[in-house]
Symmetry: D3
Amino acid sequence: MGIHKFFTSLNDLERIIRCPGRFKFEEHNVAAHSWKVSQYAMFFGTIEEMNGSIIDWKSLYEKTINHDFAEVFIGDIKTPVKHASPELKQMISHVEEKMMEKFIFNEIPEEFQEVFFDRMKEGKDATIEGRLLEFADKLDLFYEAFAELKRGNSDKEFVSMYQEALKKLLVIPLPSSVNYFKNTILADVITEKTPVDITALTKEVLTEAKPSK
Amino acid sequence: MGIHKFFTSLNDLERIIRCPGRFKFEEHNVAAHSWKVSQYAMFFGTIEEMNGSIIDWKSLYEKTINHDFAEVFIGDIKTPVKHASPELKQMISHVEEKMMEKFIFNEIPEEFQEVFFDRMKEGKDATIEGRLLEFADKLDLFYEAFAELKRGNSDKEFVSMYQEALKKLLVIPLPSSVNYFKNTILADVITEKTPVDITALTKEVLTEAKPSK
Amino acid sequence: MGIHKFFTSLNDLERIIRCPGRFKFEEHNVAAHSWKVSQYAMFFGTIEEMNGSIIDWKSLYEKTINHDFAEVFIGDIKTPVKHASPELKQMISHVEEKMMEKFIFNEIPEEFQEVFFDRMKEGKDATIEGRLLEFADKLDLFYEAFAELKRGNSDKEFVSMYQEALKKLLVIPLPSSVNYFKNTILADVITEKTPVDITALTKEVLTEAKPSK
Amino acid sequence: MGIHKFFTSLNDLERIIRCPGRFKFEEHNVAAHSWKVSQYAMFFGTIEEMNGSIIDWKSLYEKTINHDFAEVFIGDIKTPVKHASPELKQMISHVEEKMMEKFIFNEIPEEFQEVFFDRMKEGKDATIEGRLLEFADKLDLFYEAFAELKRGNSDKEFVSMYQEALKKLLVIPLPSSVNYFKNTILADVITEKTPVDITALTKEVLTEAKPSK
Amino acid sequence: MGIHKFFTSLNDLERIIRCPGRFKFEEHNVAAHSWKVSQYAMFFGTIEEMNGSIIDWKSLYEKTINHDFAEVFIGDIKTPVKHASPELKQMISHVEEKMMEKFIFNEIPEEFQEVFFDRMKEGKDATIEGRLLEFADKLDLFYEAFAELKRGNSDKEFVSMYQEALKKLLVIPLPSSVNYFKNTILADVITEKTPVDITALTKEVLTEAKPSK
Amino acid sequence: MGIHKFFTSLNDLERIIRCPGRFKFEEHNVAAHSWKVSQYAMFFGTIEEMNGSIIDWKSLYEKTINHDFAEVFIGDIKTPVKHASPELKQMISHVEEKMMEKFIFNEIPEEFQEVFFDRMKEGKDATIEGRLLEFADKLDLFYEAFAELKRGNSDKEFVSMYQEALKKLLVIPLPSSVNYFKNTILADVITEKTPVDITALTKEVLTEAKPSK
């Protein structure tokens, strides 16, 4: 049914809940997540630009807006599955790609197919926009975990989600963004009063991450 | 943490929602689904027994109670993904199996491991209990789709879920159960007043299913 | 409408919420509860069998699967009401029985009535299967209360639900199961970090329960 | 804990859902229901006053505000149970009364006990205020059923709830109110477009209700 | 459509959620809030009467039942907006009034218009009933905030909502009610175990409020 | 608290529900809405570019991503209020602006303030990007109303929301987009089977909108 079908499929992402099966005080859907990722990218793109990088803003925003569209086809497969084996991860990526292809061929009018193929392809590449997407996506995971810890969710999953996201954020090759996050944002994060000891969890990661001389 | 960990993981299945991403008037979780499957199996096991089959009831109930436990690890992967390619389907089954194995080795005390391996293995085999599980599982899909159609959900997904489940039910090698379902239950189903024309949808499948001479 | 009506009534139990009127971080429905009770019974039936008892597994599973079906008719009457007076408790049991009878006579085809009467009758009798049902049912109450305490629910109702369930579990005449629960599971339970002091609440009950010489 | 305990118990009624176990497009809690009953009573009290009756407004409002407070103790017992036998209905009323008494003696400071006993007693007596309470309470049932039918809920329970409420409304001994309801409000109700044929359901009841000459 | 339209609009208030946009463990709708306000007013009206005041009960109950009906038109505008500027506050009050007027002229039959105008006008005037409404309305805010703090919600908004409500309660010109609240109810409130230090938050306000000699 | 505070405030928009107080089969939050608006803008920006316009994509995406951020301060004020009088609408816009200003001055570090002022200002200006924002925003209203009508919601509000959104879409000065919407998308929309007669509602608007010669 063409673009009408594409537009109505956007609504499906409002019903895909992140981290299915875990107890959480607040649920997040993939549509809202994508929006927050765009917001983070807007800010850190600005940081990078202020520090001399050249940002292709069109590409950056399209990456963030589209990066999880394929969950329309596969849902939010639990992360442990995705990473159970390199073969499985690759196979799932492959299926995602194939289903996207099929969708574009079947639903998108020919004159728009090229543009859709271009926009819907995996965005986390080595370009600065790809790295900003990776950074913004992990930051949302970080904030989702932080919010649960703050409300008193002591389930191990969220503790380790918080620490894993933090670890990954610190090593993404975007020095200015990492710096701002680490020195300014993280400093504010650990001043919040939380039932779980966020400061300790954070310091544990920072200490590990410190390069030995 | 042993059996305590296993017991708390049961609660996770109350948060895995079936058919994620689809609009539905009523949601169903995997724990409640497993219970309904046990109920259907109890009834159709009785039908088969009345018609001369010998039922291993212990096996039948354990199959139904445990058949979706592995969704604790992988969530409810959308059916189209599971069937996107035979290789993927097989690979996902394989991952499920491996994660179950790992869980049993790590969490279940040694003296219970054998019994857990036996109970948690894929239940849909060629035995009469395996076929009753398959029948009961499809019947719940049938009833979930029916309930949505009855409330006025006209999304194509539920129409085709209803017809697909019906098609599969009719060819499961359990003649007495299929017969009872077709002649008695289905007869009642199509008398219900529904905004979507259930009778037509049902007859379409029955006609197709009719073996040509 | 016969068995179709019975099958659709199963869905009603997905909408009966346990402990109505109490604030809880997570709700549980009677269908999912019944499934968890079957799981606990499977485990403790195994424990008893390993310790030399003979288990009628068909009976055990049917007891657990069916034990709350009558809530279709009466809902989850608040426990204080059920126990307000022995007469009321008995009268409510009686009504439950009568409504079940009426349902079976009106809805279940004659050839299945006997089997339904047999399966739907009160299951908590003195047989080992009846005691395992009682044990499994109380264990789910124990775990529901535990989960609330773990999330930080400090309402008196859940503290006393936790302690009451524990007290009853410890005196059910199933020495091997009680032993395993007390020495192995409970030991794990109290190692979990919780805002409410679970260890103290647990020890309070254990101390009281200790038989004086 | 006195009045503080009483005030926090009001919050419990926000969690008691009416018609537990039925599928509904919209749920209603007992607190909100009590408020709507007060609103209807305000209107029909005015109608009666305009037609020459003397209304004790203080009594009327206190009856409507308090009429379901006892559900704090017993929840919303399903109507079929309440009416399963006259003895049971009476016994449940009796338990309700006893639990209310106990609550007042235990929680309410002595200087307020008399006033609480007076306000919390069963309000549906033969006074005009008692009849207005009965009328307003049934009217809310009528509107709850109507809203479900209007959204397309075709479950038999709501059809019969609509017709039963209507039948009872028409015979409550409040001629001016019944008249206004029947001639003015009902006339508007049946002009609404609904998937279920409200006009037919309504006329069925009106015809039956018509006194034969 | 007249009174039928008015009656169905009551249902809208069950969907207006208080404090939109804030994280909360439990939501409250405006209909249930109005009922709780009536309950508080009933109690404090009694206190005032016991202390020699004359209460116009009809007026008191009508004020509490109707005080938020205008939210049908405007929703629960966030408090900071309402108080952003005196002009805005006044303008919003004015709009509310105008929309209410329009509603009454368009929907309410002429013979009831006067009575509706009278009942729906702003109730928080200088009469004792107006002050009791103000007191009861603030008390519900106080209890909503208290319940969140008790469940462990440490968001600044609820801390300050608790303290602001408390501050305002203490200065409403109803000495007997304020006294009872301060000496009896508040004494019970601060004995509850809460993750947030309620006693400290409360004392902070009480100290500030204490008139200097 | 700077940018950390800004980032956590994004989460608030996941709790602001659109069209508060109306019955709807599916709710939408402002965060997810903003994402869908970005998606529509991406498509229609492409249409306009293909038809010879020059699009400032950075501006377009920032407009769509930020256009409802101010609802953090004021919530989703019901549309009838916003349009009750031109003065009120202007005053509310003014308050929104002032609160945004205050937020930026208080929370955003000085080096980013200019960039935030620029991005957060009202985006619906006369530029092609401003018109695309207007188009995309109305389109989401159109699709929200359409989805409700499709599920059988016959409340007048959604019928008129559908028609109002359609009317406005047809006259936004973006001939290529309007054309594509009208001739291609709308053609698909009216082929969907819906309980409410979408075709008639649509044609009514199209006929009215047709310019007389």
